[in-house]
């Protein structure tokens, strides 16, 4: 029998998802349930002078109208932030679910209205009269660092949140030794996660306990932290993540609304639901990216890289959410990309602004790091007059040198960067393309190609590296699984991960099925309920398969070992002679002597006389798995675009991706993740941007203005894979959920720049909107400010002029 692992089995989740039988949080209606609507600040920075609740309270059907002051007794602490790096001070302001005293960004919650239906709650929320005294606003992170800038938090005396640095080797000497040094300012703009399902939360009181239904990626973490906020024992809080319609990191968070519905349920003794509108999502679900890097890259004349220095200014918004200050730093392990360096030096400066917080959005730090190294490599290639792929080849870490310790002390587990680039060029004929490009240019068609040879770090875990004594997250990141075989021989896998679109119900079933000798159809995968299965850390950072999937494999192997003992007893053989083959547990060499899992499972639950007493009844096992290292997927992508130089419009006409995430569990799921990831990145590169105006008003608050791409905007993707196993886990697997997003933005930008070579365009900042591209073609500056992209033509793009402060790094 062919193993199930490796097969493109259709998603077990799909029939219920696509036939409308999924159970999302907003689908849940509980007896007597009330509905909450939130009064939010229209001001980006203001003192709350007064709140008049009277009109709202007088509406029939309104149960409660509560302000931040009213709810002060409900919370023992504010919203948590989980990063406390050794030796680094981070300015962390109070962050209450409802604000007291001042608001710091548009959408900041100031009051909540609870009513018998949602319409009434929203109407009554409009009746709450809040008087604000506006204060000066700062939205540009670099302006925020200047002397005299308005302060988001006066108590800190600065808008700087923290600095953090990491380095290896003597970067000054390495750049000194270079023949060529290129410098580039590379913004990576603010985006939204924009899952198709916005957030929702229901707090339900039950006797002494509370239940939270939430659109979360992290039910167990949320339970721990929310119990602390609510000053209640963790075991009295149950958190359930029902079907979750995408997250992209936007639901890797502990949000104020979750704490609010629980506190309201506790206060009012009734279930309370809050469902986010899309406008609220754009305004108050955390954003991602919003960093500016100043990259300095040195090389010898022959292309050999010497040193890399990166100075990063990260706009963190107005508060610290769960991982806000850590997310930019998450890019550091792969700051040097696939390349060898003599020295790398990286420095981060976090900044408060009067905007929504940033936090993890798909890729989280690694798309930014990949973007700046890949595009600066292209710039270096132009400077050296060298083929950008040849420059890469000369500097790739060779496959024989893995595991490879980088100058930053990170050990890349395995890789074959030459191999993935070679495979890419088997799928994409670069010489033929260059001929075609030249012919098309003659006809006025401007086609370009961009490449990205990328490596990323994922598989959070390992706890020792990222935990309190490592980079300082106040958490661990092992993962758990429990495999239970029922008396009839079907099985349930409980995972501590919390899938929300990844297809893990299917891939985990495949992993378990092979080890249990049953069909994946007969394996259910359960997750997202803190009262079911073991504690776990959730789904994010492309960790679920390489950490959670390995835990499933280990638990299933424990079950298999016990099944062999039972089988041996039933067949009067030695356990060592029992093998699992063709879906049967059989005596090695005597295939006629065999038992099925159903027979073994029944015996485990209803033990016959021949089963020795020392074999415990039952057939279920737990596993807790904490890997020893991260995993490092990699690959090579090529993006081909056409630019209409009369209008500036960019169209992606072809996209070829070679990815390596180790041996495939389910190639179809990999393709799905790669496709989605690339679209996500094309979105950032060409379409999507969260824009605030200079008063801190959100300009892109709907899907009209925040231009998510659709299927009509992207080509049919061409994907291929190489398989380089990771030595870190027994499955050999690496993550794939973020790979496309990490890989593709530089490929798109490089393609546009390549197309515009006849116009002397050397640099473009994302997103490449038609007007900005047209401005670049026609020499109207770079047309690429990092603020509102539009109404003027003040290009910022002066390469290499560093920000005022971060060059003098003060971090250890």
């Amino acid at each position: 029998m062919t193993p199930y692992v490796g097969q493109a089995i259709r998603r077990k989740e799909d029939p219920r998802m696509i036939s409308g039988r999924a159970n999302y949080t907003d689908d849940i209606s509980l007896p007597g349930m009330l509905h909450a609507a939130i009064v939010r600040s229209p001001e980006a920075h203001a003192a709350i002078v007064s709140i008049d609740k009277s009109a709202a309270e007088q509406r029939s059907g309104v149960v409660a109208v509560l302000t931040g002051e009213d709810m002060a007794p409900d919370f023992a602490s504010g919203l948590p932030m989980a990063w406390d790096p050794p030796g680094v001070d981070i300015n962390v302001p109070d962050h209450w679910p409802l604000k007291r005293g001042e608001v710091k960004h548009v959408g900041d919650p100031v009051a909540v209205v609870v009513a018998v239906d949602r319409y009434l709650a929203v109407d009554a929320a409009e009746d709450v009269i809040v008087e604000y005294d506006p204060k000066p606003v700062v939205v540009d992170p670099e302006a925020a660092l200047e002397d005299g800038a308005p302060l988001v938090w006066e108590q800190f005396g600065t808008n700087k949140t923290h600095e953090w640095a990491v380095g290896g080797g003597d970067v000054a000497a390495a750049l000194e030794a270079a023949d060529v040094v290129v410098e580039q300012r590379v913004p990576n703009h603010r985006t939204s996660g924009a899952p198709i399902e916005p957030r929702a939360a229901i707090g339900e009181p039950r006797a002494e306990s509370l239940t939270l239904y939430s659109t979360t990626q992290i039910p167990h973490i949320a339970r721990l932290l929310l119990a602390g906020m609510l000053d209640m024992p963790e075991d009295k809080l149950r958190v359930i993540a029902p079907d979750v319609g995408g997250g992209f990191g936007a639901k890797l968070q502990v949000y104020g609304e979750e704490a609010l519905v629980l506190a309201l349920a506790r206060r009012l003794g009734r279930a309370v639901k809050w469902t986010e509108s899309r406008s609220e999502h754009m305004t108050t679900s955390h954003h991602g990216r919003d960093q500016i890097a100043y990259v300095t890259l040195g090389a010898k004349r022959d292309g050999t890289l010497t040193g890399l220095k990166v100075r990063i200014v990260a706009d963190l918004g107005a508060y610290m959410q769960l991982l806000t200050p850590f997310i930019p730093e998450l890019g550091f392990p792969v700051m040097g990309g696939c390349y060898r360096f003599d020295a790398i030096d990286v420095h981060f400066t976090g900044v408060f602004t009067n905007k929504m917080c940033t936090d993890a959005i798909r890729g989280a730090g690694r798309p930014e790091a990949t973007y700046w190294i890949e595009l600066t490599m292209d710039k270096l290639a132009r400077e050296l007059d060298m083929d950008p792929l040849e420059l890469r080849r000369r500097n790739f870490i060779p496959k024989e040198e893995f595991p490879f310790e980088t100058k930053l002390g990170i050990v890349y587990d395995s890789g074959d960067y030459h191999g993935s680039l070679d495979r890419l060029l088997e799928n994409f004929d670069i010489e033929g393309f260059r001929r075609e490009q030249a012919e098309l240019r003659e006809k006025g068609i401007h086609r370009g190609v961009g490449f990205s040879t990328w490596v990323e770090v994922c598989g959070l875990a390992p706890s020792r590296a990222v935990g309190p004594q490592g980079v300082g997250l106040q958490a661990a990141f092992w993962e758990s699984a429990m495999v239970r075989v029922h008396p009839s021989g079907s099985a349930t896998v409980y995972t501590g991960t919390s899938p929300h679109g990844q297809g893990l119900d299917t891939s985990f079933a495949q992993i378990a099925a092979d080890r249990l000798g049953i069909d994946p159809e007969n394996v259910d995968v359960l997750h997202g309920d803190t009262d079911q299965g073991p504690w776990g850390w959730g789904t994010y950072g492309s960790r679920s398969l390489s950490v959670g999937g390995e835990a499933v494999a280990k638990a299933a192997e424990k079950v298999q070992a016990k099944a062999k003992r039972i089988c041996a007893a039933l067949l009067e053989a030695s356990p060592d002679d029992i093998e699992l083959a063709d879906g049967r547990f059989q005596v090695r060499g005597s295939p006629d002597k065999a038992k099925t899992m159903a027979e073994i499972a029944f015996a485990a639950h209803v033990p016959p006389q021949e089963l020795p007493a020392e074999i415990e009844p039952g057939l279920e096992e737990n596993s807790f798995y904490d890997p020893e290292n991260f995993v490092f997927p990699f690959g090579a992508h090529a993006c081909i675009v056409d630019v209409d130089v009369e209008t500036g419009k960019v169209q992606v006409v072809r996209y070829v991706a070679v990815d390596d995430c180790g041996p495939a569990i389910n190639p179809m799921l990999i393709d799905g993740q790669v496709h989605g990831g690339i679209v996500h990145a094309i979105g950032q590169a060409l379409y999507e941007q969260i824009v605030y105006d200079e008063d801190g008003q959100l300009v892109t608050g709907t899907f009209v203005d925040y231009a998510l791409p659709t299927a009509a905007e992207v080509p049919s993707f061409e994907t291929d894979r190489t398989e380089t196993p990771s030595p870190v886990n027994s499955l050999g697997v690496k993550g794939i959920g973020e790979a496309g997003t990490i890989a593709a933005t530089p490929a798109v930008t490089a393609a546009v720049i390549d197309a515009l070579q006849p116009f002397g365009v050397e640099w473009l900042d994302m997103p490449h909107t038609p007007m900005r591209v047209w401005n670049a073609i026609h020499g109207h500056g770079h047309g690429n400010g990092h603020g509102p992209p539009s109404l003027g033509e003040h290009g910022m793009g002066s390469a290499g002029s560093g920000p005022s402060s971060p060059d003098e790094g003060g971090a250890p």
């Binding site: 406008s279 209008t647 419009k649 231009a707 038609p770 539009s790 109404l791």
Partner: protein, 282 residues
Amino acid sequence: MIPAEFDYVRADSVDGALGALAEGGEDAKLLAGGHSLLPLMKLRLAVPTVLVDIGGLDELRGVERENGGWRVGALTTHATLQDTDELGVVARAASLIADQQVRNRGTIGGSLAHGDPASDLPGVLLAFDGSVTARSGGGEREIAAADLFQDYLTTSLGADEVITTVNMPALEGYGWGYEKFTRRAEDWAMVGVVALVKASGGGCEDVRIGLTHMGPTPLRATAAEDALRGGPLDAERIAAAAEHAADGTEPPGDANATPDYKRHLARVLTRRALESAAAGAA
């Protein structure tokens, strides 16, 4: 995303709708396909007190050829227009509105009554010199496209009037071109251009150019029309005429397009639309 409270009346006849409108007063609104009105209501940018739903009035649906022109029922959906090839550029423009789900619900009368200068059909109707037939308790009147669009989201329709029919000349022998510039396929036009050209003996006998989203209402590019009409119809003349496409326009700027950029787009798109129209007219 939650509309304010409103009353709802489902009309069973045009007269019934007119009665309900009159009764509802100033803040009563007609509901046709709902794809312009409902999003505004969900954002609470529109707060009607009563919706008069005319979606069930089948007598307002359908496309008919009559007296050398087209009579299109106001409730005819974009999807129907899209599938009526004989309508030429009207079918083409309708096929580019938003996405298929919207086209299945949205109606020509609703789009024209909404008067959004970024929508496709107002500019098309203006280029055709078409009209709408509107009925009120006081009777029926015909409003020329040039008189219909008054300002941003503002038409000359009275609060008590219902568009029943959209009238367009058939413009036999005209070639057409339609250029809609968007960031994404489903977007409203950043700039749109409809061009209609009648050729005779290698020359341009007539030309009409409608501009979308180049001002608070749809516009005619009269300077470009004048530059082309009556002269030779060749690439050089078309390009020269297109240079006048944005003359006198004051398009609204937004985060993705300054007025200058939009004027540039209007010139480029007009040239392209004229080239297609001229090719079709030849």
